[in-house]
């Protein structure tokens, strides 16, 4: 038989062997979760509780971010132009705004259009403004400018103000900056909480699994004795951690999914006022579920690995 073929056959055999070992390990790990049920339950509840808190933190952060994004999108620099400005001058101003870095979009509003809108919106306005003509209306032509990065809104507003024929700019000075700062604080705190929670869980799970493994010290000893390599011993425990994480994430996912949909429907998609919109449940809940499963599995595997390492002479 040619050497090449032999090599391929050998490779295939090794692959089969690896699959068999893996299959056995997965099966054993699954069984072991149920065999040591009381201890597994301790690990699973530990994961469950943390994941619920993590889930709440994620929901809060996402909604704060969502709200922040909505607010940021709404923030506009209203640029008032000089009274009686000519068409050509307006074009010039437009060119200058276009040139500024960080301007996302802009929109021109003719003063007559603005007054028309205002008159339509209320009768009081109508009665006052009805007799204003294009030449004597106090309303000014404006550009509505949106910026890419809301944190630079102050600088951009100043630059726009310098343009010739721009009379003044308005963007809710002070308020916007404060809001942005507040959002950042909330965001950073929630991220810190989530990370801290994950670390604490990993530690707790590691300790819980350590107890589980201590009761199986004998098993590890025997495995070593009959010639199991370290990786051979570790893999079933890693899978066991994976299953613990997987089982631990079931209840949090159910609570998150139904809880959030219920919350969303109850508040009709907004909180307190139509200004604060909640994140739509789909695909948001799928995303959270995926994150929860991933965290559960990783934390379970890591905790398990950390615990088993103690009993291996490496």
């Amino acid at each position: 038989m040619p050497v090449e073929l032999l090599k391929i056959m050998r490779k295939e055999r090794l692959k089969m062997k690896a699959f068999r070992i893996l299959g056995r390990n997965i099966r054993d790990a699954f069984k072991s979760v149920f065999r040591n049920f009381s201890l597994s339950l301790a690990s699973i509840s530990c994961i469950t509780i943390t994941l619920i808190v993590v889930s709440i933190a994620i929901i809060l952060t996402s909604n704060v971010n969502n709200f922040a994004d909505l607010v940021k999108k709404d923030v506009t620099i209203v640029t008032f132009l000089d009274q009686g400005i000519t068409e050509e001058k307006i074009k010039e101003v437009e060119q200058n705004i276009k040139k500024i870095d960080g301007v996302e979009s802009y929109e021109f509003q003719d003063k007559m259009d603005i007054s028309k809108d205002m008159m339509e919106s209320s009768d009081t306005f109508k009665s006052i403004m009805e007799n204003w003509t294009e030449d004597d209306t106090p309303i000014q032509d404006t550009f509505l400018v949106k910026v890419v990065d809301i944190e630079k809104i102050g600088d951009i507003a100043k630059e726009i103000e310098k343009i010739e024929n721009v009379e003044s700019v308005k963007y809710g000075e002070g308020m916007v900056e404060q809001l942005v700062a507040a959002f950042n604080v909330v965001k950073n705190i929630s991220i810190a909480i989530v990370i801290a929670l994950i670390l604490v869980t990993a530690f707790l799970i590691s300790n819980t699994i350590k107890i589980t493994i201590f009761s199986r010290k004998r098993e590890i000893e025997i495995m070593r004795l009959v010639g199991a390599s370290n990786i051979n011993i570790k893999i079933p425990f890693i899978f066991e951690g994976l299953f613990l994480g997987l089982f631990g994430s079931i209840i949090p996912i159910i609570i998150t999914t139904y809880g959030y949909i219920g919350l969303y429907n109850h508040f009709d998609g907004r909180l307190f006022s139509s200004f604060i919109k909640l994140v739509k449940p789909e695909p948001f809940i799928y995303m959270i579920s995926a994150v929860l499963v991933a965290i559960g599995i990783l934390v379970g595997m890591f905790g398990s690995l950390r615990a088993v390492k103690k009993h291996l002479k490496i």
């Binding site: 089969m16 070992i21 065999r35 009959v226």
Partner: protein, 231 residues
């Protein structure tokens, strides 16, 4: 050919106790060697070094060409796959039946089930437990549990079988049964090293005997020359 070779082996524990002094020892392939001596004479340390549970402080231990003293902890499994170990307390997994306990030693190497099955039945037959394959350790007598342990130790066809007081927990009759099993395994070509307190057994078996005292081999009896009364 020497299967096991010890050269100037010394073992000093961390607390300063020297368990083995400059020991030289050759054991040939197919030998059956008893190691006897009073408690604390170093016999447990000696065999623990053979299956690399302990590391010698200095000296060389060669087993089937493998330098055990230089073996790193993470590579110990390579040695363990070449030797089988049997203990006084059997060390069986109680949640597995006899068959599974033996098959376990093969499964971890990824051997296919179709190959494991006949091998496990063969070794269970060899130790005389074919009809108890489905019994769990707590349903078996001490002698039977030890036979399961022996079956597990030999299922990977090791060159060497190390037995640490395998009859220590068993009565005289059961002990002799175990010895018969070990003798049979030895006849199939496996080198056996056995630590024991039971000098009657040693005399009746008529094999090579090493007498240890205070960490040294004080006497090396040739086959059949050991008499219980001689010491």
């Amino acid at each position: 050919m020497d299967l096991i070779r010890l050269k100037n082996v010394k073992k000093q524990y961390k607390n300063g106790v020297v368990a083995i002094h400059d020991m030289d020892l050759n054991i040939q392939k197919g030998d059956f060697v008893f190691i006897i001596g009073s408690t604390g004479c170093g016999k447990s340390t000696l065999i623990k070094m053979l299956y690399r549970e302990e590391k010698p402080t200095s000296g060389k231990i060669l087993i089937a060409g493998l330098d055990v003293a230089k073996l790193r902890n993470r590579k110990v499994y390579k040695l363990r796959r070449r030797i089988g170990v049997v203990f006084q307390d059997f060390k069986l997994l109680n949640r597995m039946n006899a068959y599974e306990n033996v098959a376990f030693a093969q499964e971890i190497f990824g051997i296919p089930k179709s190959e494991i099955h006949p091998r496990v039945l063969k070794v269970l037959d060899l130790v005389g437990l074919k009809n108890k394959a489905k019994s769990y350790p707590n349903e078996l007598s001490g002698g039977e549990q030890q036979r399961v342990a022996i079956a597990r130790a030999i299922v990977n066809e090791p060159k060497i079988l190390i037995c640490d007081e395998p009859t220590g927990n068993l009565d005289a009759n059961t002990s002799m049964e175990i010895m018969k099993v070990l003798d049979e395994i030895n006849k199939l070509g496996t080198t056996i090293i056995m630590v024991t307190h039971d000098r009657d057994i040693v005399e009746r078996m008529g094999k090579r005997v090493l007498l240890l005292d205070a960490g040294r081999i004080v006497k090396d009896y040739e086959k059949g020359t050991f008499k219980n009364e001689s010491i």
